[in-house]
Symmetry: C2
Subunit: 388 residues, 2 copies
């Protein structure tokens, strides 16, 4: 335990003023002092230090009709760049975000294999090419965050297990640091997507849950603006909640896990009993044609997806739940059915109230969340070693 | 958004130093300065302010064999009293805790009815009698917290719904403030029990879950030392997680809620199909005699209680889970069976690791947690209006 000293206070206040200018600039010194309850001297001192770091810049605005100008401050949006990366099956997406949280460019690259050596090599190449193409000096890259599905130890920077790529104990952070000479963070993709949704929302949510329905089933919680991680960053693994101890066998060695009712492979296994099938497209096509077997399969799956929503509400008591994942985002029919089935359950406690939305991140959620997580971490710690 | 000013810093540091002295006293000024990374001047100033508030006191200890004495500081444990109260069916428990977190006295009182008017009247009487009996001046009562089962809005201070007492929308905080002239907090009993377990633990847990199995089924999470509440203090209502959309009908209007497999009334309903029964005692007695029907009922219930443990681990990824509630605490046979059933499930992710314990709070959890929650709140805000 250490008391908070002046140095801590200074960094924290620099961080708060920078955040305020990012959100509210252009703004004058006097307004900063007033809105942040500081003395004009303190405001001037902090503003000068942020200018010294080139994180903010002066602008001159006319304040009256005779053309007098006053000095205002706003974020120097190009001073630093945060890189957000998503590793998905067969594809890597890279996004560059500026200081004020705007994605400057997002680009997708097909990968030849999902082997981690290849993917790491590839990411190094793509990022370096992209920043050269965009005329961004390497010293402006403040940090990189990579999101991917699986059990990600964000502190150690390792991928414990990722079923999608069949990666086990991959020291991803360390490998990427050798390719990209800057600070690297790695994290679970759904947690980053939840962060992106939380930050993008215009409403002041306190607790937001992101649900993902696809190859697996998972959830992520943002509470008071932070990702809830649990002890090993493995919170929200709701796909392995047991519903029926004598249910279908799951890859984890138990029976009746939630994902055995709704994950893509389980749906395809069931559908294949009616007709050989290796894509959800075919199942949804049959559903649209009202083929009874396909209706049955999707009705049941949606019933369980609907109760998954209720179950995360019981566990986390959020004010908003967002639905995501390929089953939801690529198949509006399924999304609609899930929401309909969910609406059949009564709410208990009656006083639970929450909004339910399909994510509108349109495939950019992970990239955006990854870049935002770097932005927030570095602003909070007031640490922009890359920022010139 | 306001920057942090000197006043904030002062209060925060007073709070940190007080906490440090509570935990580590008797301790010298020099040691405080050293361990808390402060200048000797700052340490002296803060220590003097805490002495001024009579929250700490000087003690003189021999430091060498020739009898020289040095000045040390320790908490003035009797300076303030925190009151923790549990409202249970037919009984109210009141505990008085001193500044350093020791329960001075706990007393139980039988209530004649569970009507809130009576209970409030009763609590007012009991607390006033107890502090007179214990020779505690009213000005030393820093605050009171009351814990009870149900949906408790801790911010508004109202009981939304409590099935145990059949209370709906009771403004409990306000009613108690009229009887007891001091700051009143109210909270959900399981959340307070979780806090007590977390604080009492000698291990540095990061995330602790308390599960309760009794008239209802619930859970509570402590993360980074704080109660996770969710948006309306209704997190952890896992008794209403749906396991089977076509399962047994639940009081909430849905089918197949977790509590329909394990809560006391549901178990008694099932048992009564074999033999008229209105107490779990009789069911457990039959189980101990290995009567097949009773074994079947408890085996099934324990299987579901075991998977409830797994399900909260998936949701919250804690480092420790504690089991509590009358089914667990009053019936060791059931506790044993639940733990055995739980141990049959494989862990996925394999890397989940957590400790599983039966709570050792011995009926004092709620009272202790309630008093602790006042202590922590007031130390954190450095606000002891009652402390003289």
């Amino acid at each position: 335990m250490r008391v908070k000293d002046q140095h801590f206070l200074k960094k924290q206040n620099q961080s708060l003023v920078l955040e305020y200018i990012i959100q509210n600039g252009p703004i004058s010194r006097a307004e900063i002092a007033k809105h942040m309850a500081m003395s004009p001297t303190s405001a001037s001192r902090i503003v000068a230090s942020l200018q010294g770091e080139q994180l903010i810049k002066e602008v001159y605005l006319h304040t009256d009709e005779v053309g007098r100008k006053a000095t205002y401050f706003m974020a120097n949006e190009h001073s630093v760049i945060f890189v957000g990366i998503e590793i998905d099956v067969g594809v890597v997406r890279v996004g560059l975000m500026n200081l004020i949280g705007e994605l400057i460019i997002v680009r997708s690259f097909q990968t030849e294999t999902d082997h981690y050596d290849h993917v790491v090599e590839f990411i190094g190449q793509m990022v370096n090419d992209l920043i050269i193409e965009q005329h961004i000096g390497k010293d402006r890259i403040a940090g990189v965050c990579v999101g991917l599905p699986g059990l990600i130890d964000n502190e150690k920077g390792t991928v414990g297990f990722s079923a999608q790529f069949n990666w086990k104990n991959v020291p991803l952070k360390q490998m990427l640091e050798q390719k990209l000479d800057c600070e690297i963070f790695i994290d679970n993709e759904l947690k980053l997507k939840a962060l992106a949704e939380y930050v993008s929302s215009s409403l002041p949510y306190k607790n937001v849950v992101m649900l993902g329905f696809g190859k697996g089933v998972g959830s992520a919680l943002i509470t008071d603006g932070e990702i809830y991680r649990g002890t090993n960053n493995m919170s929200g693994e709701i796909g392995h909640m047991t519903l029926d101890p004598y249910g279908a066998y799951c890859t984890c060695g138990n029976f009746g896990c939630l994902q055995t009712y709704i994950a893509i492979d389980f749906l395809l296994d069931e559908a294949s009993k009616s007709r050989p099938m290796d894509s959800i497209d075919e199942l949804v096509a049959a559903y649209k044609k009202k083929e009874k077997w396909a209706v049955n399969i999707l009705e049941k799956a949606s019933t369980y997806a609907g109760l998954a929503i209720k179950n995360v509400v019981c566990a986390y008591n959020p004010d908003a739940v967002f639905l995501s994942g390929s089953l939801i985002e690529e198949y509006p029919d399924i999304a609609e059915l899930v929401i309909e089935k969910h609406s059949n359950s009564t709410l208990f406690p009656e006083s639970y109230s929450y909004e339910l939305h399909v994510t509108q991140m349109k495939g950019l959620g992970v990239v955006k969340g990854a870049a935002l997580s770097v932005q927030r971490k570095l602003i909070k710690n007031f640490n922009f070693k890359g920022g010139s």
